[in-house]
Every structure is written in structure tokens, then in C-alpha cells.
Amino acid sequence: MPARPEIREVPKRGILGRVVAGNLEALLLGVKYFLDPNRFTLMYPHEYIKLDTGYRGFIVLIYDKCIGCGSCARICPTRAMRMIFLPQKEGERARKKYPVINYNRCVFCGYCVDICPTEALYHVPYHDIVYHSMQELVLTLDEFQREPDYATAREGIPVRYVFDERRGLVKVKAEEKQAQPAPAQQPQKQAPSTPAPAQQAKPAAAPAPAPSQAQPQAQKPAEQQAPAQSTAPSQPAQQPAPSQPQAQPTAAQRTTSQPTQPAAAEQPAEQPKPAEQAQKPERAQGKAQHTEDTGTQDTQSKSQEGGS
């Protein structure tokens, strides 16, 4: 049954056969493909491949679930993810530490996502993000929790590749999964947070840069109800229902009820924002400013205004 060596030799051709038949065959094959070309080139900016959930794209942190164990930083082969200590607050024994990522070094091997004991890191199924400078590729804790803004999805046509005997690969328009959050089960205070038109399944496509960590929280439940039943979940960003049934509403109130003084221990991301917001580079400045003044209103109005 295992391997058997097989002696073969190169197919021989007579002198006339080689010159005439060889040339003719090659020419006819060339003409055949000239008349009926088999092309599956992806016209990148106009079309983009909509990959399914398993693709190892950018990595996003779910702040609440991270227990700061540091095994992701220890396993990272290129030291792209390292732990950073948050400033010590009174009434706390040890300083808490969270991972931050540097995409200049990340090779997308996915070890960190695989090793995280509480599934606090997840892959977003796209990788082609454009940054203006190397500096922006180093993400702060705050940016690390937001899904990168997938600009290609806004004007490109999503396309999927399907295997085919005759053509090899065939481009198929990826069907638009209408992830319209069904308002019925939606907790009443949470209107559909993404604007109605061109409902993109991924929250990242929300035009306005989603405000800080609270938004992804609120964002996720919006999608989480609708596709729960579909087996191959096409939406990457969902909150696992079982582990934190009540997380979203409390998170939302927390941001609204304590806008001024630093939030409770599990919200340290909130507290450092004023410090960082001042020195942030200009481009992010607008964003932080934007989130800061709207942060105090109710999340619902924030998303509406954010949806402009």
C-alpha cells in the first residue's frame, strides 16, 4: 500500500512529429485560450474578497473578558503583542496589565487568539487596512478594542471564490447577509445602532468611527440576536450570549451614569482617555474629541449622531 518507485521516461517524438505537431499543438492551444480566456483576476479596489469567519485577519481585544494573564504576550513569536501596566489606583492590590499590539511586527499567526484562555481576542476576517504612518500601526489599548475601519467594504463589491472543475476558480458575488437586527428581541433602549442604508454586516463599516470601548459592546448585541441561529455565523463581531447575558446593558449605563469621575476598576480604559486625548496625533484628535463630548449623552443618541 505505501509508496512504490515507478520508472518512467520522457515521451519521445520523431523529428517531423516534434517540429510540426509540437508547433501546431502549442499554437492551437494559444488560439483556443485567446478566443475563450479563463480569467479569475480580482479587480481589487472595485471588488474585494469577503472572507468567512475562519480567516486570520486583524486582531481585536474584548476588554471585559481579558483577565490579563499575559500568555498571549508570552506566545507571540515576533513580540508583536506585549503587556502594559495600567496606572495603579487606590484600593487595588496589584497593577492590572493588558495586551497592546504592534502591527508592524504582527505576522497574523493567530497564536495569541488560540492561546487566550477566555477568548478575549478574536480575528476580524479582513486584513487590508491602510494606515498613514508606521506610528498608527502601534495601537493603544483603546484603539486595540475597536475593529479597524474596513474602507474597502464601503465602495467595493464583495466577491467570493468558488472552486470549479472547468474554470478552476470562479468569482461569485458574495450574497449580502442582511443582518438587520430584529428590533423585537432587542433590549428596548437600544435602537438599531448602525444606520439603515447599506446595512453592512460588520459593525466596522459604521461610517463614523465607533466611539470607545462601550460602542463595540453595544454594537455587538445588535447583531448577536439575529444570526444566533445560523450555523456558519457570517458576522464576526458577536458577543457570546451565555457568558455575559447582562454585560451590555450594565456597560451602557456605566458609561452614561459616570461620565465625569473615573469609572470603576473594570473600566480603566475610560479613565486614561482624558490624559491621552490631549497628546493624540491630530487625525485621531478629531475622533477622540468627537467621542469625548458625545460620551456623556445616552448611547442611543451617540450612535445616531455617530451614524451621520
Partner: protein
Amino acid sequence: MVEMVTAYVIWHDFLRYLIFYPPVYQFIIIPGLIAALVVAIFIIWFERKAAARVQMRYGPYEISPRTGGATQLIADLIRYSFQEIIVPRTVDAAIYFAAPVAAVILSLMPLNAIPLTSNPAFWPIPMDYSLLVAVALTTLSPIFVIVMAWASNNKFSLIGGVRESFIVTAYELVAVLSMLSVAASMSTFNLVDIVEAQSGGLWYGLLNPPAFLAAFIATLMTTSGFPFEIPDAESEIVAGPYTEYSGLMYGLDMGAAYIKRWVFSVLMALVFLGGWAPYVPGTGFVLGYLVPSLIVSAKALVIMAVMSFLRAVYGRYRIDQALGVAWEILIPLAMAAFGVGLAEAYFHVYAHLGVMAVAG
């Protein structure tokens, strides 16, 4: 009565004696520089598109999606003309600049000997020995490719220059023999008579296919068409004689290669595909001169399109194999073609048609 020298007269003489004076007109406008430039642009675009279709891709597209990337070539032309010309220090400057210009001019020379109409008013030179003169003039330009190689003083271009000189020995004899086999069968060197002999629908290419094939392959070898792209083989000797050239000079070199192929195609269209065969040129400029030259250009374009399609099918020969193909296969083929030509003369194939008075 002294004629009034009016603006109209000056304008009329200027047109007649300078712009539409056949040798100047042929050299510059229809089959000459401007036509060659337009054809070169179209052929390069066709070559990239045809090769793309065969090779599972789209070819030039992004620059003008609706027209399938046609303006890509104009963009390339502009790029070439505005690119910085870098002249290495170790180059023999005088000849370095002169050689490409000479190569372009000399590859255009044969056009003077090519008639584009049977109307004698529009013949650039007396047509009695036009075939002989045209074929002779086609042999001049390779010399300047070798001079280019020597002037750029670079190892790869030296090797490229030596290969060019080898290839010249291979295809010269084949080109001359296959072209002259028509003179044997029609017992005349006058291209106009040759075309008129074929106007009866009996093209010489169909009557003597070995000659047509030999001439076709010889043309591929002169202008390093695809199976014989040996002097400037980029995977062995970077760009051969053209390695040290950049910007407009490189554009000029590439232009010389395409012009040479265009001139050979026009010559082959006249000799083998019956020139302006179905159309009998009338009098006057448009009917007698412009239309037949467009027909000849169209046929030459078809030949060039087939030549450029071979890029998608063939690899590259080694220099000694190319010489082997030329000496062992093409020269006997050309001899056979010449023999067929003689046989046709013996059986008075064309003379039998009563068109040609038997010479002497």
C-alpha cells in the same frame, strides 16, 4: 506672362514639392514615421492584450477601463519621452547618442524604394529595380545595433551585440533569397509589376508558401520576435545592447525594432499578399495614392499582429539553436522557394496569365 506669386501658389508648391512629394511623403507620413508610430502603438497594445487573454489575465486595464486600457500606450510614450536619460560615465558618449538615431533612420530607408500605387506620379524613385533596392536597404540597420552594444561598454550589452552579429549572419541570406524568389518567377525586379501580376487574385504567397514562411521567420529573427528574442534576452543578459539606455533613447531603440518589423511587413504584404491587389488605383492623390497605401498598411498590420501573438506561445531559443534553425531549415527552405519560383517561370505561370511580357 509672369505668374503671380500668390500665397496660394506658394502654399500649393509647398504642398506638392515638400509634403506630398512622394519620397518625403512616404518617408514621413503614410508608411513612414507617423504611420509606423501609430502602428507601433497599436501593435504593442494588441501584443499585451492578446498575450493577456491567453495568460489568464486582463492586460492594461486600469488606465481607461472602457477602452480596455488603450491609452496605456500613450501614457508609456509620454513616460519614455519625459524620463530622465541617465548616461553612465564609462560610455563612449558620441557614438552612444548617434547609434540609436542612425538605427531608426536606416530601418526606415527601405520605404523609399517601396511603391504604394501603380500611378507613376506617386513613385518615390524609378521603380525598375525597386525590389533589389528595398531588400538591400533592409540589411543596414543591424550594424548600428552592434555599434550601440559596443558604445555602452557594458558586459551584458557586449554579449548582446555579439549575439546580434551572429543572428545577422543567420537571417540575411534567408530574407534575401525568399524575397528574390518572386523576381525569379515573375522575371522582374519592379515591385509595381509584381503587384499587378498578383492583382488577378493569384497571390504569390499562396503560390509559393515556402518563400512566405521563410520570409516570415526571417523577419522574426531580424527584429528578435518571440522564439528568437536572443540579443535582448532579459533573463540572460538583462536588455542586451539596450541595457545602458534609458528614457527617450530606450524608446528610440524599441522604436527602431518595431519600425524594422513594420518595414519588413510592408515589403512582405507587397510581395506575398498582393499589395493593393483587389483595388485598382485611380488618378489623383486620394484615390491613386492614399487608398492603396492604406490597403497595404492593413495587410502589413495583419502580418505584424500574427508575429506579436507568438509571444504568448513560444519561449526563447539559444543562440546556437537559432543559427541551427536558420542554416539547417530556413536556408534549404529558401532555396526550395527559389526553385519553386524558377519552376513557375519555366511554366510561365504568371506569363501565361498574359499580363507579363516575357523579358528579352
